[in-house]
């Protein structure tokens, strides 16, 4: 040990893998799958960054994080400065580091990715956030003097929390109204514990509370008080009410017992902790053969949840091929490792029940890929006469959802977009109603956490301009 000489550094440009819980073990628990970089690995990975003069990665980030800026601090070993850099523009780094689709955003732009593999920007973001959480104290940023302006925020999900963060730092007074009994929105009810531990969501919400946000729980804006009533008291209002009713396929048998929307299935397990029934009172069924319909991240979350609830067989039924799966590749691979059976190019056409009204089997059609459709993906076309029966004692339908209807139902003067969400201007996130802004799933339907946060940033900037008379 003593006479070991420092060896000359050779340029190792291989992307560092992140340790994961072994798949034989993790299918038996709900604990986080990805374990995060240890310090030496994080510094090695950070040193892969070329610190480009014109950094393209920044442009791929919906909230505009100074990516080479924070990575440089990791190389230098100044983690406190690194997390400060991220928090200049992102209130939820521990969450974004875990659930953002970096491969389609910042990492897609990384120069290293042109020839090899991009820098693991998401994992490094997560590393800094987790490092900070392990410290004694969380730093509070410099706050602007109080402006005396009051802003109401509907929903404590990623959009609302981002708006709150930005406006508090700018000196405005913020009250968040949350309909559920926990803060975090989809981060709490939708994304499973094994992908995003709930303690992290609590920590990030607590941070915004420490910046001075007031949070009113069990408060349903629209019925507990209307938007117009709140506007009498507040100078501006942001609607981040989130996702609404789940979509179904509109085929026979969808109201059979044992047929769930992914929203219901995941809410029972995540928000209500059904996987710990009867310690927690909300039950969730534990059937032997589960079929999940859909191909996005929510479908992967549902299938992997079913595996952990002890199903013998979990099938993921998707009408296109593996290439077209909208879920993140990482999640697809995780699901495959965990034993989820992918029934691709398969379309359910009828759900069939037993004599007591419980799902028994699903009639499906085989599909083949035809010409590209409007989305640019090849259109799935049924193979004539290919009908077959797939046994299932639970079906989870994960094909998307519409924006939450409560605010449009109870608020005059709000124009809606084609999806039934609130119509907003992309530059300002302003709605058609004076002093009302909106963003996230209540505008877009089912989208991503980071796009909701991006909307939140735009809205906060526009609200600030309005409140300070700059427009």
């Amino acid at each position: 040990m003593a006479d070991e000489k420092p060896t000359k550094k050779t340029l190792d440009i291989k992307r560092r893998p992140m340790p994961k819980q072994d798949h034989h073990e993790r299918i038996k628990n709900f604990e986080e799958v990805a374990l995060g970089y240890p310090v030496p690995t994080a510094r090695e990975e950070a040193s892969r960054c070329l610190d480009c003069k014109t950094a393209l990665c920044n442009k791929g980030c919906p909230v505009g994080i100074d990516i080479p800026g924070f990575i440089k601090r990791i190389v230098e070993g100044d983690f406190a400065a690194g997390i400060r850099k991220i928090k200049e523009t992102n209130a939820l780094p521990a969450i974004c580091g875990r659930v953002c689709p970096q491969e389609e955003q910042c990492e897609k732009m990384c120069v290293l990715g042109k020839k090899g593999e991009p820098v693991s920007i998401g994992r490094l973001e997560r590393f800094l956030a987790d490092w900070e959480a392990g410290q004694d104290k969380i730093e509070i940023p410099v706050m602007a003097p109080k402006t005396g302006k009051k802003v109401a925020i509907v929903g404590a999900g990623p959009a609302g929390v981002t708006v709150a963060n930005d406006l508090l730092i700018l000196g405005h007074d913020v009250t968040i109204y949350e309909a559920l009994h926990e803060c975090g929105g989809v981060l709490i009810y939708g994304i499973p514990e094994f992908r995003l531990p709930k303690s992290i969501v609590k920590r990030e919400v607590d941070y915004v509370r420490r910046l001075g946000a007031k949070i009113e729980m069990d408060f349903i804006v629209g019925t507990t008080r209307t938007v117009d009533e709140l506007l009498e008291e507040f100078d501006a209002l942001f609607v981040g009410a989130g996702a609404g009713l789940p979509w179904f396929m509109e085929i026979p048998g969808e109201n059979l017992n044992g047929v769930y929307s992914a929203n219901e299935y995941l809410t029972r397990v995540n928000l209500m902790k059904g996987y710990r029934f009867p310690e927690y009172d909300t039950p969730v069924k534990q059937p032997a053969r589960v079929a999940v319909v859909g191909g996005g991240n929510v479908a992967m979350d549902s299938a992997r949840t079913a595996v952990r609830l002890g199903a013998d067989e979990v099938h993921l039924v998707y009408r296109r091929s593996r290439t077209e799966l909208p879920a993140r590749l990482e999640e697809v691979e995780n699901a495959e490792e965990e034993g989820v059976i992918f029934d691709l190019l398969t379309l359910p056409v009828r759900l069939i029940g037993d004599e007591n009204g419980w799902i028994k089997e699903m009639e499906c059609l085989e599909m083949e890929l035809g010409e590209p459709d409007d989305s640019g993906r090849r259109r799935p076309v049924p193979v004539k006469g290919s009908n077959f029966l797939m046994p299932a004692d639970a079906v989870v339908i994960a094909i998307g959802n519409s924006p939450n209807p409560l605010i449009p139902m109870t608020t005059p003067g709000l124009e809606l977009n084609k999806k039934g969400g609130l119509m907003t201007s992309p530059e300002t996130a302003r709605t058609s109603k004076a002093r009302v802004w909106a963003g996230g799933d209540v505008v877009r339907g089912a989208a991503t956490v980071i796009s909701a946060m991006g909307d939140g940033r735009i809205a906060a900037a526009s609200i600030h301009k309005y409140l300070t008379g700059q427009e």
Partner: protein
């Protein structure tokens, strides 16, 4: 946290439950419901609202003890607190001057029909109330309902009050009194909602039922409360809970209502006293 003001068994197995929740009390309307969690690990259950005091900031429901969660609610004492009391939720019952309205209540619905009666009376309707119960010992709030009604009919299975009979006797009782309602509104257990709808369909009486499916969030997100209405998928928490009783697929609704029956009761079996059996 929300303070329990009153929780007493008003008749066997039915509890009157009053909670301080000023934000709900301020805005609640007839036909709406609240979502309640009895304790930190508890589930979210919907309760129809039966009364409120806007000035005192209190809201009252009548609930029946059926499973583990309602058993927890039934053990609460005044002064204790519960972690969740969210609302009001759902659309309010349509209140206009319809002419003559018959309100049918049973079980917890004898309570939740009361604010509907009061509002319809204020809107200028002739309001008649029909209460159904197994025996007189299961009736409550008759005086409150009488004050909000122009006339009251009661049918009990054992004949201890009113006519010996049940909801099936309702059309004959009304016709004997010379009453033809322009609208019927039903609150109570699923069987009462369904039976009343079956009875009024051939008579052509418009019938509104206040549905009571399983719910989780209650805010238009989870989709568990779906009901087939006129062949279309509707969600009771945001499209209802009031629907046209003649359009509901009752067989499907009954099956869905029972889907968690074993889990509702199972924790009770695990409780210490039950283990002696």
């Amino acid at each position: 946290m929300y303070e329990v003001i009153e929780r007493r068994m008003i008749v066997p197995n039915l509890h009157e439950f009053t909670v301080r929740a000023p934000a709900v009390a301020r805005s609640v309307k007839p036909g709406q419901f609240v979502i309640v969690r009895p304790e930190e690990n508890g589930e979210r259950i919907p309760l129809s609202v039966a009364d409120w005091d806007r000035e005192a900031g209190t809201v009252t429901s009548i609930f029946m003890q059926v499973g583990a969660s309602t058993a927890k609610l039934a053990r609460l004492k005044p002064g204790q607190t519960i972690p969740t009391y969210a609302g009001p939720l759902g659309r309010k019952t349509d209140i206009e001057n319809f002419g003559t309205v018959l309100l049918v209540g049973g079980c917890y619905g004898i309570g939740s029909i009361y604010p509907v009666a009061r509002a319809l009376k204020e809107a200028g309707n002739k309001v008649y109330t029909f209460l159904e119960a197994r025996g007189s010992f299961l009736l409550y709030w008759e005086d409150k309902l009488a004050a909000a009604s122009d006339g009251m009919f009661i049918a009990t299975r054992d004949g201890t009050k009113g006519r010996k009979g049940h909801i099936a006797d309702m059309p004959a009782m009304l016709s004997a009194a010379g009453i033809t309602p322009d609208r019927v509104i039903v609150n109570g257990c699923t069987f009462l909602l369904m039976r009343t709808s079956e009875l009024t369909r051939p008579l052509g009486w418009k019938t509104v039922v206040n549905m009571n499916p399983i719910m989780i969030d209650g805010t238009g997100m989870c989709g568990v409360c779906r009901v087939s209405v006129g062949g279309k998928m509707k969600f009771a928490c945001v499209d209802g809970p009031d629907f046209d009783g003649h359009e509901i697929d009752w067989a499907e609704f009954l099956a869905r209502r029972k889907s968690y029956g074993p889990e509702e009761v199972d924790p009770l079996r695990r409780s210490s006293c039950a283990s002696h059996f």
